[in-house]
Subunit: 193 residues, 2 copies
Amino acid sequence: MRLIEHEGVGAVSMRRVAAELGAGTMSLYNHVPSKIALLDYAAEQIMADIEPYTVETDDWRDHMRAHARAVRDHARKHPRAFVLLATRRMSGDVGLRPIEVALMNLERAGFKGEVAVRVVRAMVSYLLGTLTREMATTPELGGVALSPYQPIDPEAFPRSSAVLDELGRYDHDMEFEFGLELMIKALEQYSEG
Amino acid sequence: MRLIEHEGVGAVSMRRVAAELGAGTMSLYNHVPSKIALLDYAAEQIMADIEPYTVETDDWRDHMRAHARAVRDHARKHPRAFVLLATRRMSGDVGLRPIEVALMNLERAGFKGEVAVRVVRAMVSYLLGTLTREMATTPELGGVALSPYQPIDPEAFPRSSAVLDELGRYDHDMEFEFGLELMIKALEQYSEG
DNA sequence: CGCTGCGACGTACAGCGTACGTAGCTGGAT
DNA sequence: ATCCAGCTACGTACGCTGTACGTCGCAGCG
């Protein structure tokens, strides 16, 4: 985990890990069947370390906001490790816990059964999408910090060039909250109609 | 592209590509500065190949549905190649064109300027999230096709075990449309109030 | 005492990206 | 006609990767 957070997933090699542990390279294989399994385990660890949120009200919206923000906070604290979660599918208790929490909360909002599962999945998709994109733009290692847009041809892309400033600016806080509120609005309306 | 689609991004090596082209490995470097640049170019190609949607009405909702479905259809046609888009940020004309189309359509719905950009980004995040997840579960190469959930402890996870069947089933069509309609509902409400 | 199993370790192999040096050809300048 | 610059192709080599395989020593048990 230390290696991942300091130098990124790409820096993880069996030789590096073994050296960091002061052990022989192949000794690792007595504890882990393959490198993939090692990274799977690291991903589980990251997922398990997401801090449980606390909230004072009983409003499902506040719970949803708090839960989403807890995930995002965790991602921002471990940006290089978080990418491991994007592609992996978690099947154990570790992956089930946040789902259980979400289902519990959605029950408050009147969502049950199949629909609740769909809502959870839509939410997870949005979260994974924004956070993956946000982490990809953090300046540390490879991320583009500032405006990646050269002057745009206004004839070919009139709308884009009209909002060129906004396209080049990234206010991740704002954008995250915007998308989150969008989802909440949608769910409010869904549960009513 | 042939190599990516048949054997996945992981099978792409400079030696393989060169062999496929009947050329020497290092000859590739006369046309491409690095392997990363090669994959960047492949990603651009994939993005450029997304088929423009056609729609008969002027309703922004129908346009949004058609656009989203066009992206998904493309992703499903080239599942192994599509993952290249998840992490990359496109800055040229190729990346701008879909944005321009989206902005044009959002104008119909009354979204302009900064807000329109935020809507586009939220939409892109959702699309990238669902499609990444969907592609990760396609049975071809590495995907888990059927229920990955072992029997769940009903005491620890009562809600999850109540919907165990749904958790194990993936109806990607349904789920995609569900999330899409959720976003549309949210935007409708947003533009009204 | 001897055996069995497990953890640690070194060696080796096939493959990777690419830096570097070296050819051959081709078009323009002299 | 001659020469040279620049482009493309290619082979070799370096340092890295994941891991299959064989060996060694030690701990626990019959």
